[in-house]
């Protein structure tokens, strides 16, 4: 399982990568592996304001339906439309093609408070 060093992670197994003032958000390799084959993804509309810690979408696998939580607050600037027809991308490429949304952060430094790859891996080791 891979956990890119340059990403930040949450306890709910989302990842965040900040690029050009936008936060790109997806779910971690651990999350996609635990979910199993993803069959459906529901994402918010562009323009929606997300509150940190609140559910912003849904990911459904053959095992379970799970909420996806906003790691940080902000406004949705872009969503990954390709996931609607090809949700399996989340399994095959959780960190690149499987990104879910890009948000403009209310507080540009909010991502700094999230876990780094090392802390996240320690959390997973504890959970499993």
């Amino acid at each position: 399982m891979e956990f890119p060093e340059e990403f930040k992670y949450t306890e709910d197994h989302e990842w965040v990568m900040v690029e050009e003032g936008l936060a790109v958000i997806g779910i971690s390799d651990f999350a996609q592996d635990a979910l199993g084959d993803v069959v459906f993804v529901e994402l918010p509309e562009v323009g929606v304001v997300l509150e940190a810690g609140k559910a912003f979408g849904v990911v459904e696998s053959v095992k379970a339906v799970s909420d996806i939580y906003a790691p940080i607050a902000g406004t949705v600037e872009e969503i990954n439309d390709e996931l609607v027809d090809a949700p399996e991308i989340i399994n095959t490429s959780p960190y690149e093609d499987g990104w879910m949304i890009k948000i403009r952060m209310i507080d540009a430094s909010a991502a700094d408070n999230l876990m780094d790859a090392e802390a996240y891996q320690a959390l997973i080791a504890e959970e499993s």
């Binding site: 635990a34 084959d37 069959v39 459906f40 459904e60 053959v62 095992k63 379970a64 799970s66 949700p87 399996e88 499993s128």
Partner: protein, 493 residues
């Protein structure tokens, strides 16, 4: 050990569309003796090509063969956790087929339908007595609608007091439908974490003046009794909220403890779980709702009323009474799913108070027997004592085998698999609810199969990965079925 699952000749069956032969039919009509008329073209559907044309025997064989592929509580052990798949005694069916009960028209006036109204009145009184609530409505069509009715009652109570609370607390061990119900009732769901059971401190930390209700399931989906429930209800009430209990697991409590006495304000029953009416096949179910005295004005209507008290009603005085002004309104057409009510009433009366209590005791004993036999073979994530169901996980399984593989392999042994991957708080959960209707002999055979499967995982894991191998169809491609569902027949498709 006797392995129940065996192989034998299983008849295959085509789709009805594939049987079709033009001109075949299963009816004969008298000769036309009036002038014929054409149907207006706009009323005729054109898009179904190859609509099947079949004889009576084609149709009878088709559905009879399909029925042989079925597995139900009448075929064998069905330990589907949280669903309470108990055996449905046939006397219930006999009662439901009594012509006066089965054939009565729902629009029959009250004075000509005293029998069914009396039965409904007695059933709602019996459910109120079993659960400790002041009043029970029989209207809701099944569990999910019962939940909705119950939460709408709570919402109406808040609104009548001018309270505009927006949130509902739901622990991670509550029944899976609860968040959907809260959301459909217009509330935001606040999930709260529990350590097996809910603590007063955890509720206290979240219970503020924006929380309308707490939704719990007791016993919860880990099969554990919420032993802090009285203190939790007291706290929620002090802070202006209500407590909803999902009654899905009432089978552990009958005749032993009453949710109404614990401080719960509203609870729905699943007659198709606890009270042995048929479960599955798409229904119908029935989801009565019990409430405290304070909430009676908000119940849906109409309900059965009578003059006099309790079951000592004056003769011929049962009647359907319209809902009052504060009611949340009607949930169902006419009287609700009456045929199911007849079966539940037959069950309650044939069991009697002692029988219902004994059923709950045996349900708990059976779950603990399975737990004792499988503990050490399968990981048991929560050690506190189980009630009517027990949750294992695949953590200790060898050979890269997972919960899904165990479930599929159980099919080869002739059992319906238990609920898997639920509750979500347990990774790789295997949720076993044997119910009271299984004998020790059946439980031993099932546990032997589970132990044997754990051994196969170690010695011959491929057996599990390929399972089921003895069933009519092998492991289905659930992923493609979900991603690219094929929902209708197409010629040559």
């Amino acid at each position: 050990m006797t392995i129940v699952g065996t192989s034998g000749l299983v008849l295959n069956e085509k789709l009805l569309f594939e049987h079709s032969d033009p001109g075949r039919k299963g009816y004969s009509l008298p000769k036309l003796d009036v002038p014929s008329a054409e149907l207006p073209a706009e009323l005729c559907r054109q898009e179904i090509n190859g609509f099947p044309e079949l004889s009576e025997v084609d149709v009878v064989r088709h559905f009879t063969r399909l029925s042989t592929w079925n597995y139900g509580v009448d075929s064998g052990f069905y330990p589907l956790g949280s669903c309470t798949m108990k055996y449905n005694p046939k006397v219930n069916e006999a009662a439901a087929r009594i012509p006066g009960l089965a054939g009565i028209h729902p629009a029959t006036p009250s004075h000509l339908s005293q029998g069914i109204l009396e039965l409904m009145y007695r059933l709602q009184s019996a459910l109120a007595e079993i659960s400790g609530f002041a009043r029970v409505t029989l209207q809701p069509a099944a569990g999910a609608q019962g939940e909705l009715a119950g939460m709408l009652v709570i919402r109406a109570w808040h609104e009548a007091r001018g309270s505009k609370r927006t949130k509902v607390l739901i622990p991670d061990t509550a029944h899976g439908t609860n968040p959907a119900t809260a959301s459909l009732t217009g509330y935001d769901v606040m999930p709260i974490a529990s350590e097996g059971i809910l603590t007063l401190e955890e509720v206290e930390a979240h219970m503020n003046d924006d929380v309308a209700a707490l939704m719990v399931t007791n016993p919860n989906t880990l099969g554990l009794f919420e032993s802090n429930i009285e203190a939790i209800c007291k706290l929620v009430h002090e802070r202006g909220g209500m407590v909803y209990c999902d009654g899905a697991n009432l089978n552990a409590l009958m005749g032993i403890a009453r949710p109404g006495d614990m401080g719960i304000d509203v609870m729905h029953f699943n007659l198709h779980k606890t009270f042995s009416t048929p479960h599955g096949g798409g229904g119908p179910g029935s989801g009565p709702v019990g409430v405290t005295e304070e909430l009676i004005p908000y119940l849906p209507g109409p309900g059965v009323e009578c003059d006099g008290l309790g079951v000592d009603c004056d003769k011929e005085s049962y009647r359907l009474e319209s809902a009052n002004a504060d009611s949340i309104g009607r949930m169902m057409a006419f009287h609700g799913n009456v045929g199911i009510m007849v079966r539940a009433y037959a069950y309650i009366r044939s069991m009697g108070p002692e029988g219902l209590k004994y059923a709950s005791e045996m349900a708990v004993l059976n779950a603990n027997y399975v737990r004792a036999r499988l503990e050490g073979v399968y990981d048991l994530p929560y050690k506190s004592r189980s009630l009517h169901e027990v949750i294992f996980s695949d953590k200790d399984l060898e050979g890269s085998c997972h919960t899904l593989d165990v479930a599929k392999r159980l099919i080869d042994y002739g059992y319906h698999p238990p609920t898997i991957y639920f509750p979500l708080v347990v990774k790789g959960a295997i949720m076993i609810e044997p119910t009271e209707t299984e004998s020790r002999e059946i439980l031993d055979e099932f546990c032997d199969a589970m132990i044997s499967i754990a051994g196969e995982a170690r010695d011959n894991p491929d057996l599990l990965h390929q399972a089921p191998i003895r069933s009519k169809v092998r492991r289905l491609d659930e992923t493609t079925a979900a991603r690219k569902p094929k929902l209708r027949w197409e010629e040559g498709g």
